[in-house]
């Protein structure tokens, strides 16, 4: 579904060049829920921004559903963002002037494909994620957890190949975080969605099928949950992070 090979990305700050990604390779299968963890500066967000087509990579390959993103022009990339990717941001990025329902419909509106079916899908997503009662409200009138669930519903409205989530629980309390992770689980199990999540939160990551740990711009270790209990998987994650810290 998503294949990243030998990805490099540097930033120029004044006269200095900082190489943030130093050959990252990873693979995400359809229906998989994958997290990327790592300390600050390890390249998590840069990796996500490259996959999101927000910033161009210096070299390497990103293939999404068999399409090589680096070969696409600006309009085609915009279409990929609209049709094949769904986004969930740490600070929600909902439009304050639109209601919850209108926000959910926004990617479909931008893509010019709003039909009765899409409206029905939006209503279904509201039902599934427990935000049907607030769909006429504006972002300023709802809680952080509700905002993020709205954002997840928005990410799913165009039935994308992959949902990209950047620290989705970063601004939420534990209860809201759990609810948002719940929506991802529902999306995965109920809708067959593929989710690629960047997070600092070992609790959130412990719900994933696989966790990729980045360090200094390279994949340091990949942990697979398989049949392990969530708590055991979280313990394994914490142990790995602790080991990385000792190294």
């Amino acid at each position: 579904m998503l294949k990243v090979e030998n990805l490099h990305k540097s930033y120029q700050v004044g006269k200095n060049t900082y190489e943030v990604l130093k050959g990252v390779s990873l693979n995400v299968e359809q229906g998989e829920f994958v997290a990327v963890m790592g300390p600050s500066g390890s390249g998590k967000t840069t990796l996500l921004n490259c996959i999101s087509c927000y910033i161009p990579a210096d070299s390497g390959s990103i293939r999404l559903g068999g399409t090589e993103l680096a070969r696409l022009g600006e309009d085609e990339l915009a279409e990929v963002r609209n049709r094949k990717l769904g986004f969930v941001f740490q600070d929600f990025l909902l439009l304050d002037g639109l209601t919850v329902e209108q926000n959910i419909l926004l990617p479909a509106i931008i893509g010019g494909s709003v039909s009765a079916d899409v409206e029905n899908r939006a209503s279904q997503l509201c039902e599934v994620f427990g935000i049907a009662a607030i769909k006429g409200k504006y972002p300023a009138e709802i809680s952080g957890g509700e905002k993020q669930r709205t954002a997840v519903a928005r990410a799913l409205i165009n039935n994308p190949l992959v949902i990209l989530a950047d620290e989705p629980t970063g601004n939420l309390d534990s209860k809201s975080s759990r609810a948002v992770i719940g929506t991802f689980e529902q999306a995965k199990s109920g809708l067959g969605s593929t989710i690629f999540m960047v997070t600092h939160d070992s609790f959130a990551a412990s719900f994933c099928d696989r966790v990729i740990i980045l360090r200094d711009g390279v994949v340091w270790r990949t942990l697979e949950k398989r049949d392990a209990e969530r708590t055991a998987f979280q313990d394994a994650l914490l142990a790995s992070i602790s080991e990385m810290g000792r190294q």
Partner: protein, 714 residues
Amino acid sequence: MRSFYEVCAVLRRRNAKQYALLAGCCFFSVLLITAYVCMMRSPTVLSVLPEGGDSRKQVMMIFVLAVIGCAVFTTYAAGLFLRQRSRELGIFMALGASRAQVRGVLQRELAGVSVISCVLGAALGMPLAWALWSLFRTFLVDTQEMALRFDYRAYILSAIFSLFVILTTLSLGARSVRRTNIIDIVHEQHRSEPVREVPRRWGAIGIVLVLVGVFLGYMSSNFFILVLHWYPPEGLSAVFYAPALVGLYMLLLHTVVNGWGGRRRKYRDLISTSMMKFQGRQTVRNMLVITVLVAGAYFGSFYIPMIGTGAMMRYDAREYDYLYFHRADQDIPGEDEVRALAREYGVEITSFAEASTALLAVDGTHTVEVDGPMGVTWYPEYIEVFTAERFLSESDFNALTGQALDVPAGQAAAVLDSDGSTGYGFDTGISIVTNYLTGERLDVTPYQGAALRYQSLAQHYVLDDADFELITRGLTDEWREHKVVFNVENDEQTYDFAKALFNEIVDRSGPEVEVYDSWDPVIRDRNLAEDGYYFLDRESLEEAGEVTIDYTQRDSSNFRLSWKYMPQFRVLDKADFVKTTAVYLMLFVFVAIVCFSAVMVIAYTRCMTIALTNRQVYEDLRRLGAPGKYLYRSVRGQVKRVFFVPIFTGTLIIYVFYLMIMYFNGSPAGITGDEAAGLLASIGVIAGVSALLYGIYRLTLGKVCSSLSVKRRT
């Protein structure tokens, strides 16, 4: 809601305030510029301001300042609007909207807002100019000359400015969408505008550069003309003002970033200073615009007290209530007729004296202009028969003044103004006096006695009686003048008599003396011989489309200020001063109103922006336990800085500049009595305007406090 267009329409309604602010700024800028340009290009004004004259240059210079100010202001407003909209645009693009899609929506919106507001501003500019002018005419002064006419070609300039506003807005919009990194666009609203570290010495260097720039700018044209003998191209002197602008920027930057409080107030002003820092560039740019506009506005405002006070002092310094003079071949009322007219008006004449003056040629230095590869240069050329000047015999001088002057033979005593200044072009060191008709020549040296100061006879020469008799022998009446002076009882109450006598003199003057005061028979002959025409002859003036001296326009400023034989009746001059100079006065009042309005709107908008962008900071400070008093002091610190720093700086700079002009414009350099009085009166203007600006500051402070929910304290 199913289309992107509908989404944008919903968001437009939601963000109506942002659109209103942008539209308001564009509208206001175009309105002011249009009103200004309509007034500046009005035939009413152009006929009064001489082509190439200082007044027209001043009005043009202030116009350029106003254009720069309004251009920076609208650019700022467009930038602010785009920052506020950037989050929405970024989200659209992050969710898959193409750049073309976003650009299309944004450009349509920007074009709609800017075009409508510019068209409205341009359409209302002329009515605004007319309304202000009509207010002046209704409440201040109304003369025939003030009937306002517009030249619709003024709209070309207005259209150019409007086009600039529209194109700038659109190009800024296009640039904001062109950014490659969507993440930057999403976070644009929260991006701070850091000012690089500013060394503390920048403040002092800034002050020095401002002073150097102002001095160099003012003195450069004198240097080119007097030292290099070269007439520089228009605008070159403006380049020499550049250090002043750089210095001003450094000065304001230092004030915003470091402040002038020193270490003692470092922590007290920490919050307000740091907030200003993070909007550094925009704040400093706005402050720069305010400073320049304040300077321009005061430059216009000072014109009125300067010429008003100076004129009143000169009228008061006259030794006689009434003085008139005429060419000896004119049939002008003599003593009997004047006394009869006085009786008719119930005016009692307390003293009366008459004297004859002669027009004699004097030597002097002529400037010969040469067209060369570097433009026009000049060299001085001494001419023995240079210009015609007025001469009195010592007896006539004593008869008029009651003095007992004795000028030795072979000397010429130059009469100065009462404050000792010579007046433009009057040479106190002549050495040859020539009878232009007979060619008789008298070699003279300057009078060795005490300098003669006599306001009513200033710019005359006095000769020994025998010399005068000898040199004027053979002069016809065309080269002789008759001077009449008298005083009356209760001068202030004799306006009707003065007006009647003035009309009588004008009615009885012939067309041969219907000329400008600088019309000179000696220069005329030389010009006719060399060039075939004399530019001050009626035919030449009419051919060039210039205003001529016209007896039927005897109450116009042109006639009253420029007729060669204009009587000097104190009561008439004082009473009609405002009327005589009405167009000048009102034009500069208009200019000041336009500039100060721009200052108030820009300062107000900037302060409201600070409130808008710092709302979260004040929320955080509240959460950190900051008391209301602290919050108020912080808000006040910022509003104060936006208002006070540029207004104070602009006022100070222009006052120093004016002082410098006054000091260097006379010969010898120095401040004369009437200039000092004018400068004092200008301080009165500053006090009045400052009070008004303080009122706007208080109003703005209240608005900012209420928008941040900070309680205002006294």
